[in-house]
Symmetry: none
Subunit: 205 residues, 4 copies
DNA sequence: GATGAATGAGGGTTCATTCAT
DNA sequence: AATGAATGAACCCTCATTCAT
């Protein structure tokens, strides 16, 4: 039902749950939270409108659940990329950015939803998801802090740098086209370099 | 009606036009295009629902008009900042970014609308506005090209750099709080430096 | 649209208001508050569903408004009947009961609604309407008190007598058929006598 | 699940039947037939929604079954009270009313349902239940007839008297509060006197 | 310009009921 | 007997828009 991005949520015990979540991401991503109707989601999930409510108690809780999945997947990708990287901050930053770009490109729609539709959640859900997102941002901030401590990131504005980098990467989702000039790998490389440059790391070559 | 940002659109000949446009930006910015109703706009503009249609033929045309005003204001700020700057690319880039940051901070809501709600326009209006926005982006790209030609911007990814910088600056609107730690001026300074670093300009101090 | 009872609410300035209120009483009376839909009301009022909301902000407020009209009409009938009666308690009680029976028979549906559907109001509206209803009940209680003081009502249970009488009269609405054996006048006479007997007034003939 | 009234229906062979019936009375009594959902009933009976349909084929049949139980209990109380009373009509009426008041006070919710929700039954079920209820009313009417024949009830409106008395007693359910000023016994005494007075029986003391 | 009334379409959600297990 | 998932119809209400004044 979503040709652009592979399904974000895998099958679980409850048969339709994954289908509903993926349909929700697609619908919310292409039409916006308020522009998409629960009927659109049901159509995408190939189930009935009322059956959605056997899985999620409201439209907004459905959005929250979808965003929780997206956040979890993003975080796990970034964290394992960092673990597999070298010990120095530049390598780690490079791999973290590459992983993030990979997620954005693969789950473009989910990224758009996570960026644009957070505001439509109940305050409690929004807070929980912001915390969730901040956990990913923390991984970046720790790398920045390490690089600054090591003297290899020389920006005087280290505090906001991680947020700025994450914002730039997420923004890719708003213009990227899989059939465009840049391939996934090149894009990842490019943004890794942007990130290191922004941090004022000396060029390594 | 919007305490955070000063009204974007000034009084014109038609008495209520500016009030409607400013109310529209406020409503669309805080609730999203589909989340805000024409009744919300009318309430914000302190006029009647049906009177909106004496000024704008549809909700979507109202959004288009509001965005045209925002774009025009942004562009004029950036262009005149560039004109007043020195002749070298880094100075120009610095002033362009500072002007843009200024607009984002002053018209935070309008920036959010321009970033998030463009998708809800009729295709024709969207195309026109994208063109409009690209005109502003062109100003940045010309500076980048000049800097690359002068050898002062050494990034190998000059093509996408302007877009990335503009995206990062626009993203400020999604988290900036006027009562936060960073003042307007510091923020402008910081983002100017981010931009030059990202372009891999050698530090001037 | 309501053949049984003449319309309770007369035309006012707003063209459709009376039609909507009368249709609401009919619909709520025949199908119950939860059994009747706003579409039913709209159909009865010969207007569109959505137009109902130009007059009443919700189904429950529509019920409240309808009941306010019914209560007002009932109270005014009872009060003027009492005023026109003689000075002694039995005459007053007789006329009050006769007036009430007249209202019940004429506005049978409205009486049913007032008896059965009060519970579906917002607490605030319900409280206001109960107060309203109690004002009518007060008229009866004052007559009871006068009769007791005069020694002409000899029941030892004067406190609850008014409520019991009103309940019995209202209950007429649940079985009365205009084409039945009892005419309006006979019914009024009969219930007046029930009331006086219940109050243990000595028979006057 | 219903603290006010003791459960009306006792355990039977089928484990959940009584729980469902009692939950139905509670739900229909507090929210009305159309206001209560089968889910509410299931929750009250602590079973699953779909299991309700193993016991009762539809919501309306469930209401019918619940009302049959209530009617049967009421009738048996009244009949055995009459049997235990003396032979004269006033004694019998007094005991019948006392028994009825006892039922209303003990099964207030069931009384409310029987009074207000009968209309929502299928015509066939409604007819059967009305007949059922009329059987109880017949007991009262026979007493009235006896009293009239004996010259002890002197009302000229004997025909409707039983219905009026029963209506007044049932109406107790709409205002009685167990923690109120009147105890069960006082209330029964009071309504017995109301009934005899209404029938124009000479006072016995 | 400006308004209040009007409307058809569609919104999210709940409903009684059924079915497979 | 018991359940969770499923469904189509219907619910109240709001929407963008139009029209008569």
């Amino acid at each position: 039902m979503n040709d652009r991005s592979p399904t974000l949520v895998a099958e679980t015990g409850r048969r339709n749950e994954a289908a509903i979540l993926n349909a929700a991401i697609h619908a919310f991503g292409t039409q916006g939270f308020n522009g998409a109707s629960m009927r659109d989601v049901a159509r995408g999930a190939e189930t009935s409108l009322s059956n959605l409510y056997n899985y999620f108690p409201s439209k907004s809780k459905l959005l929250a659940a979808a965003l929780r999945h997206a956040n979890a997947e993003l975080r796990s990708r970034v964290l394992s990329a960092v673990e597999l990287a070298g010990d120095d901050a530049p390598s780690r930053m490079r791999e973290a950015v590459r992983a993030h770009v990979g997620f954005v490109v693969e789950h473009q729609t989910a990224t758009l939803v996570a960026t644009n539709e957070l505001r439509y959640l109940d305050p409690g859900d929004r807070a929980a998801l912001v915390e969730d997102r901040d956990a990913t941002q923390d991984a970046f901030e720790r790398i920045v802090a390490q690089g600054v401590a090591d003297g290899v990131f020389r920006t005087p504005y280290a505090t906001d740098a991680a947020r700025t980098i994450l914002g730039a990467v997420a923004a890719i989702a708003s213009w990227y086209r899989p059939d465009g000039a840049l391939g996934r790998g090149q894009l990842a490389e490019q943004y890794a370099r942007y990130a290191l440059a922004l941090l004022e790391a000396p060029l390594t070559h």
